[in-house]
């Protein structure tokens, strides 16, 4: 057998191995991805409801959804929420990571502490904070009252504007640990000599941060911003457990609205139209943000 023939035979068997090894994962993901997407697209142009006979709806579902005042409110709520929560999360993550990058008494304990909110399921964090902010017996009201800061209890979760702030606060609480961990890891990967060189050049604390730290963690920051934007736009567990979308519709976000439309109103057609819109918007956001990421910085890069 020629050398070339043998190589081809070995290559062929390796290719075969590759395909059967990835087959279980590919089949599993494809079955639960392609079919559901096609199904969602299909039902978004039909009347699908346990209460009504099935029929073709064309773009009626989309029209019904887009022109609904509740939808517009949910979109506005979601955008404001995301626009507030993402920068706060990233900045707090950055500050916390800078803090943990220093040596001080109790730094290891604080590092472990920072991981706590990340470890707790978000739905449960929602319940925890609902108890903390409760207007009748919550710890916050009790503490503020005992300290003499407020004369009477405040309805944190029953006042629309306050409830919005509470939801943002809790979102930050659940999200900043992961941001911190990623940013801290990127900071620790920066070559120590760069700092020394900068110090020799007379760079102050701020300059060292701007010219050494920031460029070193830029790629990671981009990843964190994308991740947090997605988490914000699709937040569901949190409002379900913390506010139930209320008071009124003050904290009803697109995900919660989609869920309510599908499983409370049992209008699967409208729900599917919403889902398609949501998926499309998320994809656009991802693509838009990807433009700002330095090439090859993403973890998912195929070629080295």
């Amino acid at each position: 057998m020629t050398v070339r023939g043998r190589i081809r035979r070995i290559t062929g068997s390796i290719t075969f191995s590759a395909y059967w090894m990835i087959a279980p994962a590919v089949l599993l993901v494809a079955a639960f991805t392609l079919y559901p997407y096609i199904y969602a697209l299909w039902s978004s142009i039909r009347v699908v409801s346990p209460l009504l006979p099935p029929a073709f709806a064309g773009l009626k579902n989309y029209k019904a959804v887009i022109t609904s005042i509740y939808f517009l409110r949910a979109v506005r709520n979601t955008l404001i929420f995301t626009a507030a929560a993402v920068p706060i999360t990233v900045v707090l993550g950055l500050l916390t990571a800078s803090l943990l990058n220093r040596r001080f008494f109790g730094d290891v304990a604080l590092k472990a502490l920072v991981l706590l909110p990340w470890a707790i399921p978000i739905a449960i964090s929602g319940v925890i904070w609902r108890g903390f902010f409760n207007s009748g017996w919550g710890a916050l009201n009790a503490l503020l009252y005992m300290a003499g800061i407020i004369p009477k209890y405040i309805g944190w979760l029953t006042t629309p504007s306050l409830a919005k702030l509470v939801v943002i606060t809790v979102q930050v609480w659940t999200q900043f640990p992961f941001a911190t961990v990623l940013i801290l890891a990127a900071m620790q990967a920066i070559n120590e000599e760069l700092y020394e060189a900068a110090a020799i050049d007379g760079a102050g604390l701020l300059q060292r941060f701007l010219y050494v730290t920031l460029p070193g963690i830029r790629a990671m920051l981009a990843i964190v911003v994308i991740f947090e934007t997605l988490m914000g736009l699709t937040a569901f567990d949190l409002t379900y457990a913390l506010t139930g979308g209320g008071p009124g519709t003050a904290t009803t976000f697109i995900s919660y609205f989609t869920w309510a439309e599908s499983f409370k109103m049992l209008n699967f057609g409208n729900g599917a139209a919403l889902a398609v819109i949501l998926a499309a918007v998320s994809l656009l956001m991802i693509l838009a943000i990807l433009q700002f990421i330095p090439r090859g910085a993403l973890v998912g890069g195929e070629e080295r």
Binding site: T96, F104, A123, A275
Partner: protein, 295 residues
Amino acid sequence: MMRGWGIKLVTYLGAIILAIFILAPLAWVFLSSVLPEASILSFPPDWFQHGLMDANYRYIFTGEVPRGAVATGTLRRMISQEVRFVPRAILNSLIVASAVMLVNCLVGSLAAYPFARLRFAAKTPIFFFITMSRLIPAVALAIPYYLIVQRLGLIDTHWALIAIYSVLTLPFTILILTLYFRGIPEEIEEAARLDGCGPFQTLVRIVVPLALPSLIGTGLFAFMLSYSEFLFGLLITQSIKTRTLPVILSTVSWNPDVTWGLTSASIAIGIIPTLLLVVPVWRYMVRGLVAGGVQ
């Protein structure tokens, strides 16, 4: 000199504020779980007027109705059986999450190796298809998933949750494991290949033992995500046979017949498994992810 002192002050001040922000709600959960209802509801607030008690925990595990220091007349009304489901819900979550972890380790490492090492047609598109499939928000998939599961007759079974959570976690697992496997020096595998090992044997004999800590860390991450998942748990489960912890805790917390003390005791019990796992996950997975991926 003055400046170093100032930085130190800011550091400790920041650390203290951060610790308070993180701990305040958790402290309230643990404290109120051992307070009698009358103390929690007192106004002006006096949390320690009736001392501490373990009655909430005892009720969850034994069904013994809490008496404590509270007048018992109206108490009976405030007790709902639902909160006694919490231990069972933890068990359900543990079963589902362990199975998902197993699936992730087996299917994930099997798929990650070819992506890391082998050449085959359509490799890049398939890799992107798998990793990007998770970027679509979960709620967009809720209806189709529900209908698939319904058609398969798997509503209210562990199987449905295991399948869905595996699909949700696998893309990330494959991404991470691909990076790990690529980081292993190729020369080590070369020796096995010269001994006549195919890709599968090389994976099992060489790569998996070498990457074991990362593999377990990645598996534990899938475990944590499954343990925490809420939306599909809410959708697929209908009875305590399968209800997972986040779902039970959420319904318990909206149940007017469950006191806050009982809710907080359930929370305190329920979050223990994830609190135990967070440090190993961080050490093995997140660190490796960062060291291997972005530099």
